[in-house]
Structure formats: C-alpha cells, structure tokens
Subunit: 577 residues, 2 copies
C-alpha cells in the first residue's frame, strides 16, 4: 500500500486523496507537519482564518512495534504565538494513521455559517458529516458518545468547549488506550480546529494491515536494544515509572528553580504537599495502580491516574507542569484540587500550562486570591467552559490576560506562558524559552536535563557559560526525535547510553530500507528548526522577539538572587548554525 496525503477543504467540504510529493517522503511527525505548514500556509495569515491549515502526521516509526513510538504530530500557524507550531501527543491515532498509510491529513479552508462538522477517517478515505449532538460537550462525553455511535475501539481527536470557543489556550485532545485523554498541548491548536468548525475526527483503522518493514529482522534486533535502553536508564526505567513527572516538584524546589507565586520566588513552602512522592503515597493509600501509558507500546508508563478517596476517577496524565502550575505558581496546596483542575482541563480541552500560568497572572491582577483552589475550579468550570467575559479574558492565555489587566509581571515569550522552570536559576532552559520557534516551551530543548538532572553531563544552572550551545544541541536533537513519533523521554537513555541512538537510527533504516548515519539525524533536526525559523521570519518575527520579559532582568529570584543576564548578542548566537 502506498502512503497517501488526505486533504480536506472545509470551505467547499471537499476531500481529496493525493500521492505523497517527493519532498515529503523522507519526513514524518514534526518534520513533516512543519514542512507542510511552511510550504502551504502564508506566514502572515490570520491563524483563525481560511488560509491557515491544520496538519496531522504520524512519526516515522509510528505503527511499528518500536517502544514509545505512538506520538501523533499536529502543526499549524499558532493563534497564541503567531509562530509556526508543532505539538505531538500520545493516544491511539498515530498507529492507526500509519497502518492506513496516511502520511498526513491536511485540513484547510473554513466554512461559512454556524454548522459544525465531524470527520470520519477510515481505510476508504475521509468523509465530512454535519454534527449537532456533540456540540458544546466536553471531551469525556464526546469520546463516550463516539464509542457508542461508532465502535469501542474508534480513535478520537477532538476539541472541547475551549476549542469551539476558539480560545488561545485550547488544545486538541486525543483518546488514550483507556478511553481517557491526552493533549496536543500549547499554542492553541484547538482554536485552529474550532475555526474550521471540526468538532472531532473519528479514526477507524479496523482491518488495516500492519505497517510494512523493509527489514523485519534488523528492526526487531534494534527495537530490542532500544527497549532495553529505555528500561535500563534510571530516569525512564525507574524514576518516571514510579513517581511520574511529579517527581520534579521536590527536585526543582531544592534547586531553587520552582517558580512560585507567579514567578516571584524559586521555592514553594508547601512543596511536599504537591510532590510526586505525595502523589504516589496518596494513590497507593487509595488503592489505585500507579502506572499507565499514554499510548499502546509505551514502556515508561509515566502517566499517573488520580482518584478521589472513594476511588472515583478524577484525572490521569497528571503531570509535573500542571502540578507546578496550579500548585507552586498559584500557591494551591491541595493535590486533590489540582487534580480536579487537571480533569476539568482535559474535559474542556485547555492547555494545562497556559491555563495555570494565566490563572497566576489573574491572581496577580486580583481576580482571585493566590491559593484559592475552590474559586479556580469554579472559574474554570463555569467561566472558561461557557466563555463568559472573564472566561474570554483567561481563555486568551497569559499574554492576553496580562494585557487586559495592564500588568508587567507576565511570564511569556512570543505570547506563550513560561512553564515550570524559572529561567533565572535554570539558565539553559531560559535560552530555550527565548529561542524556541514556538514561544516559551521546555520540551523544545530540555536543558533541565544537564542543568539540574545531570543526565548527559552537567552545566551549572546559575552560570551563562555553555547554555546557548546546550540549548542549541538539544533543540536540534528534539526536532529530530519529534519527527520519529517517539516519546521525548527517550532522550534520557539517548543522552547517557551509547547504544540507544544507533538503535533508533537502525529502526528507521530497517523500516524504510535506507541507510542513515547519526549525522543525518543531526541534519534532520537542523533542517526542521531552520524551516520553522524561516516561517517565523516571514511571519514578521525578529531577534527582538527572542527575549524574556524584562522583569526577569530586574527582579532577583530567591533563594539564589539570580537574574536573567544574557545580552542580546549572546542569545542571537543561538542561530549561528
């Protein structure tokens, strides 16, 4: 079966199946979505207008038996940042796309009028149907209804009320193997899907053959090495499976880089009460299993489930950034309240980092008090869900809310909220925030690994030396990993265990019958970054946008008294490659 491109035009509700252009054949995941967006979307277009396109693509290894290869990539011009945007998520659809030979799904145009639509993707292609019943519903109800309407195993890619309301903090949500939710986070891609009036994409790969491998034996050998490396590394093999990403709460607090009270302090007094250790104890006490994966084939199993005292599901995929964001940064000390907020965000389809950063900004503005979890739940569940005026202010994200309230202490880069590591005392991640092609984003180049976790070496987090090179190397590597469909956490073994990265290259070679060198992976990463950066330049971004908000320069962060002290020239050197 030849791979194909599915193109859906929402202006005239037409669909077409196209062969894969030669220039796209070698690409997958982020490499492919960014290539398509850069080639077909006018960089100065309105992100919520008919000229933007929303592209989905599985990774190069998706659909194979490679561990942790089930990430689906989504790309578009971001309404939050105005830059190009790629976001990948677990769930059940990446493998389905790959098995059906769907190299990419391109959604373009925009219908007139108020009608909503659902897309149905299967082996026969894609069809567009009017949708009424599910409009206004949260993601959990949408998944349940589609399982009932179509099939229990149907894959679901959907938007919640936030996406319908075209809010900047809207995610695209995906059904995970347990029928719960994962998210294409950050950048407001849910608003792009909402602007095209698509409530959901149902994915049915029933009967599709397995992905073809050019060299099955070589693939299996490499996949075994790769899986062993993932299990062998202490972070991906022990720490993350045991505690989940929440383990970072105490680590970052100890390092003095846990942003607290809207980035006022680097430590949170009540850190123990929201720690990964407390999360694990609580779940053990409530009799829950603590490990699960976000997609089938995941062996890291970092996605934690959280229940109430009676064992009722509250949330899963309950990650450090969320716990930090509503915990330390909003000063909410109760893990139960934070878990409820996380579950609500899954249902409404809100990005948890952007939402939490925005709530802290709202607390700074006096809209609600720091620490008031009850009021935060109310505002999220009523105002944001329904799009009241307050919900609209917050739904616009931290930058918009900060402007609406005339604040200066607004932690954003290129309009996107700064996540869970303070750039003053973890300077490598600050370089990533500044230079990422998608606004402040820790996953773009996770310098925390070397600055704090001492994975892959050690660079002093409080000194400027070496940080620009560190962030550059990590961003290049990440752009390549994001093209494979592999989970970013493979970076831990890849950085420390020499057999890991060659095994990944071998798997790609064996999948496609090609012969890559490690250097080709680096070239791929550079190509992806430069393609994205070029899009941004054409969209009007300059080096003047590769900067942190100025308050980081004149507000020293306790306990280290650190300030952000990179010169423009030092930051601009990032792009010298």
């Amino acid at each position: 079966m030849h791979d194909k491109i599915l193109r859906v035009n929402m202006t005239d509700l037409s669909t077409v199946v196209e062969p894969v252009p030669a220039a796209w054949i070698g690409h997958g995941g982020r490499g492919l979505t960014s290539t398509i967006v850069a080639a077909e979307v006018p960089p100065t277009c309105d992100p919520l207008g008919p000229r933007n396109k929303l592209v989905f693509a599985p990774g190069l290894l998706s659909g194979t038996t490679a561990a942790n290869s089930g990430r689906l990539s989504a790309g578009a011009k971001s309404p939050l940042t105005g830059t190009i945007k790629e976001s990948n998520a677990g769930g059940t659809s990446a493998q389905a796309f790959a098995r059906m030979g769907i190299k990419a799904l391109i959604l373009e145009g925009m219908p007139e009028g108020d009608t909503w639509y659902g897309l149905h993707l299967g082996r026969d292609g894609v069809s567009i149907k009017e949708e009424r019943e599910l409009i206004g519903l949260g993601n959990f109800a949408v998944v349940k209804a589609l399982e009932k309407r179509l099939a229990k195993k149907v894959g679901v890619i959907a938007i919640g009320p936030a996406g319908e309301l075209r809010m900047n903090l809207a995610n695209i949500s995906v059904k995970d193997p347990d029928g719960k939710l994962r998210s294409h986070g950050r950048g407001g891609l849910g608003a792009v899907m909402g602007s095209k009036r698509i409530k959901f994409i149902a994915v049915d790969a029933e009967g599709a053959p397995p992905v073809e491998l050019a060299d099955p034996e070589k693939f299996k050998a490499a996949a075994d090495v790769f899986a062993s490396a993932l299990s062998a590394h202490p972070v991906s093999g022990q720490v993350l499976p045991t505690y989940g990403t929440g383990v970072l709460v105490n680590v970052m607090n100890e390092a003095g880089g846990l942003p607290t009270r809207n980035f006022k302090y680097g430590q949170f007094e009540a850190h123990e009460s929201i720690s990964g250790e407390r999360l694990r104890e609580t779940m053990i006490a409530r009799g829950r299993k603590t490990r699960r994966g976000c997609h089938s084939g995941c062996i890291v199993q970092c996605s934690k489930t959280f229940t109430d005292e009676e064992g009722n599901y509250i949330t899963s995929g309950f990650e450090y950034p969320t716990i930090w964001g509503f915990g330390a940064n909003c000063c909410i000390e109760d893990l139960n309240a934070i878990a409820r907020l996380d579950g609500l965000m899954d249902d409404i389809g809100c990005d948890s980092i952007e939402t939490a950063v925005t709530f802290a900004v709202a607390m700074e503005a006096g809209v609600l008090s720091f620490g008031d979890g009850k009021r935060a739940i109310e505002i999220l569940d009523v105002d944001v869900r329904e799009g009241t005026p307050l919900g609209r202010v917050l739904g616009g994200g931290a930058a918009l809310a900060g402007k609406a309230y005339g604040l200066t202490r607004v932690p954003v880069v290129k309009g996107q909220g700064i996540p869970a590591y303070d750039p003053r005392s973890v300077k490598g991640i600050g370089v990533t925030y500044c230079t990422s092609t998608m606004g402040a984003d820790h996953t773009a180049g996770y310098s925390v690994a070397m600055n704090i976790l001492r994975v892959g070496g050690c660079v002093d987090p409080l000194e400027k030396e070496g940080q620009v090179e560190l962030s550059r190397n990590l961003q290049i590597a990440t752009a390549a990993v994001d093209s494979t469909g592999l989970c970013l956490f493979i970076a831990f073994p890849a950085l420390d265990l020499p057999e890991c990265l060659p095994a990944v290259v071998d798997m790609i070679d064996a999948r496609f019958g090609i012969c890559l060198e490690i250097e080709d992976v680096v070239s791929l990463g550079k190509y992806v970054l430069k393609t994205e950066h070029d899009f941004n330049t054409r969209a009007g971004f300059t080096r003047a946008h590769d900067r942190l908000p100025e308050f980081f320069e004149y507000e020293p962060l306790p306990p280290h008294g650190a300030v952000w002290d990179f010169t423009p020239e030092e930051l601009d050197a990032f792009w010298d490659f």
Copy 2:
C-alpha cells in the same frame, strides 16, 4: 529665559531641571517627543514597565500668536501597538509650556506600591505630591476639583478611570479653554501615564512672560498671511466651522467608503440621521452656539458642542470619527446616544476611535447587538469605567477583544483599530494605515484629501496608482506639521494656497531667528518618520507588519465591490525614500 528639560523620575520621586541638549534644540512637538523616545526608551521594553518614558513637548510655534498653534505633543512606546507613539492635542497647556520655557517634560521610572501622585508644573519647576481625593474620578470631576483646589485658569493633563486601569484604549485628557476636554488619542498613552501612577499634571503658567520672538515684525506679517489662508480655504474657512468634521458622514457615504457594521458595508442606510448637517440643525434647534475652538488661538472652530433638549451639556469635540464609529460602524442611528457615548469617553478617558471599533467587534462577537446604543452606554459607563471582566476585554482594544473572542473580522493594523475610511474604497488611506509608524491612523497621512475631498489634487480612490507616493508625501508633511504645534487642518490651505506654507516657514524663522527653506521642512518630516521607523525596527517590527488584516483582501466592499489588492512589494516601496 533659556529653554529647559524637566525630568521626573517616578521610581525615586526625584525631579531635575536640565539644559536642552544641542541635538534637541531645533525640534519641537512630535519631532522632539519622537527624538527623545527613540534616544532614551529601549525599543523592546514593556510599555507599562519602568523603562518606558512619557514625554510632553509643545510645538515650535506654540505660545506664539500664530493661529491654531496650541497643540501639545505626547510621546512614548505604545502599549496598544508596541510601536513608538506620538499624539497631539489642543487644550490650554502647550502655550503654558512654551511660555515657561519647558521644551519637554520627561516622565520616567515607575513607583512601587499603590500610591497615586499628582504633578504640579509651574515657573518654579515641578513637584510631586501624593494624591488620594481624585483617584477613581472621571476627567470632568478632576478638572473641576483642580480648578477649585488650585486656580480657575490652571491647565490640566489627566487620566480618567481607563488610564488608572491601564487600559489600551486609555487617552491622556487635557482641559480645553472652556474647562471641557480634549484628548491625546490613540495608542493607549493614558495607560502609560497610569503605569507611572500619575493621575494628573496641573500646569500653572501664571505670570510667565510671553514667548520671545527673534523678529516680531516679520512674525506678525507671516502670521497674518497664515491666518488669512486658513480663513480663505473653503474647508478650514467655511465647511469645518459650519458643520465640524461630521460633515464627512454624508461625503463618505456618497463615496461608498463609510465603514458600516464592522466594515461589512461601505454605506449606512441611516447616514442622514448622524450627519454633520443633522448635528448642526439639531444644535440650532436647541439654541446652542455651534462653533468653538479646542485651544485659544484657534480660528477654525470645528469643535462642536452637543446638548440635550433642555440645553444641558452632553459633549463637545464631537468629531466625525466618533460619530462614524458608534454610528455607521455600530449601526447606532441616534445622534443623542452617540453624543452620550462621546461624553462618557471624555469622562472615562477612552479613545473614541479605538472604543468604537472595539464595540463593533464586540457586536460581531455577539456581546451586544448592532444598533443597541442603550446597551453600549451601559457597558461603557459600568463595565469599562469599573474594569469588570467585560470592561477589561473591551478596554484592551479591538485587537485584544477580537483575539479574546476568536474572530477574524478584526479591523486593526499593528494592533490599532482602523478608523473611519474603508481602505478598500479609499486606497490611499489604506496605504497610510499599513505604513504609519503608529498602527492604523488616518491623521498620519490623510490621503482622503486627494482621494475624496479633492484638496491638493485628485487621485482616484478605487485605483492603486499613485497612492503609495501620495501617502508618503502626506506622511512626510504631517510629521513636519506635527512638530510645529499647528493643528493638522492647516493642511487644507497648505495644499491648495501657495502663500500658506511659506508663511509657516516664515513664522518659524521669525520665532527663532533662523532661515529655513521649504526643503528643510521636507527634510524634517523625513527625519521624524525615519527616526520612528528605526525605533519600530529595533522593537521587532518588519515589513510583514505593514499589512491590512486579510479579510479586506477576500471580502468585497459594497457598493463598489472593492477589495484590498496591494502586493507586499507595492506597499514596501513606501519606505524607499
């Protein structure tokens, strides 16, 4: 008496009197404020942070007997657009500044804490005092209270609630000769003043000597020629004094360029009911005088007063952009309601264009209905004045409100609302909107003169030919006029009557004892534009920002079916000078 610079540091509440640097001596008004902002404000700074500066300067001819020379210039980095911003207004302070030898007043820094301050400017310098009594009050109450507290004749520069709340649509308001209000409009300069926690600047020039003239006789002769030209031209001598700027309602409707229902149509069915002619009839029927000036020495007297049926004051300075904005663009047909909105905006300190454009966007979003003047009054008087969540969305301006509601039909350039002339059917003004250094602004280069009014020649409004050159020449000339302290309406005689511009040059020569050529005026205008453009470039603006929103390209405007069809290359040629 030597001219001086007054510098007020709001961080440590210190003030200093400085000599005028050599490079600033030849400048006044916009030329001086833009020079100072470009020299002293870091272009990437937070407009509401301590690194921005707010600069006031009288024009080169302010304080003299030259007709219409009483415009005060204010400049800063704009929180609305992120660009450099200059805005000039009538009122009573420009002449006072000039007579006291205050070449410029520079407000810098930002206090910590919640205390508000009032500045007192007099012949002895400037003092800073804590202010409690007037906080939260509207501008009318502030003027009254300061007249009572200080002196009937005191000049007042103040912010209303909108400025205190640091809203993007906040103006700086100035007391006019009747104790009513004029505004430094557009760009949110009121929010900058609010960020520095200055509620008002009281200006007391009591006992200051007249401005010294190098050649009083030459000055008087030139001033007479200039005043005669103003009176002789049909627009400044007859049309504006008789009808005010509201005369443009019927003119623009006839031309099919009166943006209606949030820029959906080019004509408004109920145009007669909001016309300048109807305004005049109404005021004659209500027994009011119809002519007044915004500053002493004004002989155009376009500033109309509007009363209710009992003769009670509702508003003055009731201009075409406001009448258009809440009239045609919000479809409010009742001039009385529009006048009430205008009076409220004076009191709250809101920019009337930005506010009206924002309300039309809110109507598009369904927040209120098109045509609902009653609800508009309520929202303005309660929500915007008090800064409720809805008030915060609208207070952020049209771009912010459009983003909050996820709309594509948001008429802004560089974040500033597009004013009262549709760029599709008045293409010359569209070029000005795109290329102005301060976002969409008709006053930056009023191509309407040649496109529609046939002053200074005639360029077909529906054709692209000649529009870029037209806008360029007008923007250069306007930057020079804005430096003189003269009202922009001198452009009408200057464009048509050969004796007018030489008389202006002669007045400047006679004031300072210098010898300029007409070519020097052109050079001054070019210098001002390039200084501002360079600031914007350093702030991160590129040619990609010199564009209209894309809906103007694909939505034809009735009745002409005109679309915006300039190529990027055609627009970029603007800066080839």
